[in-house]
């Protein structure tokens, strides 16, 4: 039994998602190997070698693997697959692009976005936008899966695993990299934001979103979200709506301000790691799902909160 993890990395650095995938792989059992595929990717390989629980790091440093286009990386994975029972990767857009290609080439049905691993060899994954958890077992000779990293802690970083070079022999030349354009410093998108500051009808106007919510969001590098009531009232645009009919989000921290906690809203954010509710109505249902509740007038609390952030930043 052994697991090969396709790392999420940017050549010169390793994304934290990889360490989370390693801890998930630890639950599968067997040796865990990490593959760093890229160009000039030694630094990422060295970082991977430090992750606790990694038995070996494989590095494939090859111009054909630059930017991790799906076709060559999948070809490499397939070449290496013979030695492994399980091929896994953190469910980043990169792995979501590559892993199903690997699975199909191996004639394996992939298990996507695993959030739980059972001792009996079963896997749990969300379906229907997270409204349902499905537990499955695979009849395939190998398992190919992507790991939803928010469901697993990151493995520690005290290791010194050996790094071994592997080579890509046959690479299909089907696509080429032209360029990339990574988000500038403006607010992150709701979908990928680590922190979301969300406002409800209690904000009472579009201006208040700008003067009360935005300063806190910007100080935290957070995205701005809104309840449907706030969107319907025209305070913010539709694309900021969090909820069943809007965006489904699961940030590290979700700060709900003046949001009562409609069922539809909860459906869109209940998987957030930490939920904070600020509401002046102590009976608001949002408090029933909040890790930290503050009964307060948001117009007073949020400026104070901003001051706390600033105080820490300058401390």
């Amino acid at each position: 039994m052994s697991v090969l993890i396709l790392a999420d990395h940017q050549d010169e650095r390793l994304d934290e998602a990889t360490a989370k995938a390693v801890s998930a792989a630890g639950q599968v059992g067997g040796d865990v190997h990490v593959l760093i595929a890229g160009q000039n990717c030694r630094p990422a390989a060295e970082a991977a070698a430090r992750i606790d629980g990694v038995a070996k790091v494989l590095i494939a440093d090859d111009p054909r693997l630059a930017n991790r286009l799906a076709e060559p990386v999948a070809a490499l994975m397939v070449e290496l697959a013979g030695g492994y029972d399980t091929l896994a990767a953190p469910a980043s857009t990169s792995a979501k692009n590559i892993m199903p290609r690997v699975a199909a080439l191996l004639d394996v049905m992939q298990i996507s976005e695993v959030v739980g691993i059972g001792a009996d060899g079963s896997f749990q994954r969300p379906i229907y936008a997270g409204n349902i958890l499905q537990t499955v077992t695979s009849a395939d000779p190998k398992r190919v899966m992507t790991i939803r990293t928010s469901a697993f802690p990151a493995a520690g970083a005290g290791n010194a695993a050996p790094i071994e070079t592997v080579t890509l022999t046959d690479s299909p030349d089907l696509s080429g990299f032209i360029g990339s354009e990574l988000s500038a410093s403006e607010r992150p998108e709701l979908g990928g934001a680590k922190i979301i500051v969300s406002g409800g009808r209690a904000l009472a106007s579009a201006e208040n979103f700008q003067t009360v919510i935005a300063p806190v969001a910007d100080a935290l590098g957070a995205a701005i979200g809104a309840s449907r009531a706030a969107v319907d009232a025209g305070y913010v645009s539709n694309d900021l709506q969090v909820g069943q009919t809007g965006k489904i989000v699961a940030p590290e921290l979700y700060i709900a301000c003046g949001i009562s906690g409609a069922i539809q809203h909860l459906a869109g954010m209940k998987d957030s790691r930490i939920i904070v509710a600020i509401n002046k109505d102590p009976e608001a249902p949002i408090f029933q799902v909040a890790d930290y509740g503050l009964v307060a007038d948001l117009f007073e609390a949020l400026p104070e909160f901003r001051a706390e952030i600033d105080a820490k930043a300058t401390a």
């Binding site: 009531a229 319907d232 009232a233 025209g234 539709n238 009562s260 409609a262 069922i263 539809q264 109505d281 009976e283 608001a284 249902p285």
Partner: protein, 414 residues
């Protein structure tokens, strides 16, 4: 529930309903919610933005009733009225004034399709198709009579005051029309006028096509209504208005042939009303499941839940009657006249109750203009009265059920 599909709709009907629903959800509802003040703009042309009708154009909903040979759409004739009902319900769920604007086009297009001579169809259908802002109006009501004309008063004294007289190769129209849907905005009007003062209305009324720019025809004002305000209801005056003789649609017997328009019209009217009811229900169901009173969401208070059940039941009953009546009209069943009047009057009274519940369950918010619930209440109220009052509609039902007794002029027993 409320949006149940009993499997009797065709695939096309379901898809059409979906398209309308998406257009309403994506375009109309957000506009109405964000621009609630515009309903009260005292410049009628400024109320509904042109993009709304442009959007209606994208789903092709302005020109139903126009035959395919003129670029329109051929619905299945044997289920045409049912289709109209489905679509008008969906549009009215977004805004009943917008639904009024559009359905007026369908109803008048059917009249043109059925009764206009070919050369008029060839002249006007293309103009209607070309311009997304092109609306049609149907002008019956006068200061001295409207739906009551259909009571058993078919005597010369009760005929229309608007008169049309043939003068050479032109008809000359004089008179007034009021409370005309689309009256303020339309580009083309179907106008009913008396052409034989010696006989009853049914034998002496003709109808004419009157283009808006005809000399002697004036739109005098836009009526400020309590509901359906995005449809600009107008008042019209005809002063020696000369219409080419070939713009006559039906001579003398126009009221009888207009049944084509009225039967579909009653169903459409009831269906629009239903759409307002569904909007009331959806908004209220959402509200009572989200808003907290006394520590729990409203619906967990039983008195609230009971009212919601009553709303749902009334809506389903209205829907059932509309479906039955529209089928009767589509199949030209002998009871079609009775059923379509029943659907119209029942929908108006039941949805009024539904809207009252909606208002009540929203508490103080229900009375707030920016909340949009009082708008549904006002829109529902208009239906009691639009396209015949409740009492006149009931009289028509009875007259049709008992033609020999209730159908006779209400004078002394013979």
């Amino acid at each position: 529930m409320i949006y149940a599909d009993d499997g009797s709709l065709s695939e096309e009907q379901r898809l059409m309903r979906e398209s309308c629903r998406s257009y309403i959800n994506d375009v109309v509802t957000p506009f109405i919610r964000t621009n609630w003040q515009r309903e009260w703009d005292m410049t009628p042309g400024e109320r509904l933005s042109p993009e709304i009708l442009q959007g209606a154009e994208e789903i092709g909903v302005r020109t139903l009733g126009v035959p395919e040979e003129f670029g329109g759409i051929d619905l299945e004739r044997e289920t045409e009225v049912r289709t109209f009902a489905l679509i008008s319900e969906e549009i009215a769920r977004g805004d009943s004034g917008l639904a009024d604007k559009l359905v007026q086009n369908w109803k008048v297009s059917i009249l043109l399709r059925e009764f206009a001579p070919k050369h008029l169809q060839e002249k006007w259908f293309p103009k209607l198709l070309e311009d997304p802002q092109f609306l049609l109006a149907h002008c019956l009501t006068e200061p001295r009579g409207a739906s009551d004309r259909w009571l058993p008063y078919n005597v010369p004294e009760a005929s229309m005051n608007t008169r049309a007289v043939l003068d050479g190769d032109h008809w000359v129209i004089n008179g007034r029309k009021q409370f005309i849907s689309n009256g303020y905005d339309a580009s083309l009007y179907v106008v009913y006028a008396n052409t034989n003062p010696k006989v009853g209305m049914l034998q002496g009324t003709s109808n004419f096509l009157v283009p808006r720019d005809t000399p002697g025809f004036t739109v005098t004002k836009c009526n400020e209504t309590m509901g359906c305000r995005f449809m600009n209801n107008g008042e019209l005056v005809f002063e020696d208005c000369r219409i080419p003789a070939d713009h006559l649609l039906v001579k003398d017997a126009a009221m009888g042939s207009a049944g084509q328009y009225f039967r579909a019209g009653k169903i459409i009217q009831a269906a629009k009303n239903l759409g307002v009811g569904v909007a009331c229900f959806e908004r209220t169901a959402d509200y009572v499941q989200n808003y907290v009173q006394g520590g729990r969401i409203l619906i967990k208070h039983q008195a609230v839940a009971i009212r919601l059940a009553d709303m749902a039941t009334r809506i389903e009953a209205v829907r059932a009657l509309i479906e039955r009546a529209s089928k009767a009209v589509d199949e030209a069943h002998p009871d079609a006249d009775i059923l379509c009047n029943m659907a119209k009057v029942y929908a108006s009274e039941e949805i009024m109750k539904v809207a009252t519940h909606a208002l009540e369950l929203h508490g103080g918010n229900g009375a707030m203009l920016e909340f949009g619930i009082e708008k549904l209440f006002r829109d529902a109220a208009i239906f009691l009265h639009m396209d015949a009052t409740v009492d006149v509609s009931n009289m028509k039902i009875i007259k049709n059920m008992f033609p020999k007794t209730a159908g006779k002029y209400a004078g002394p027993e013979e």
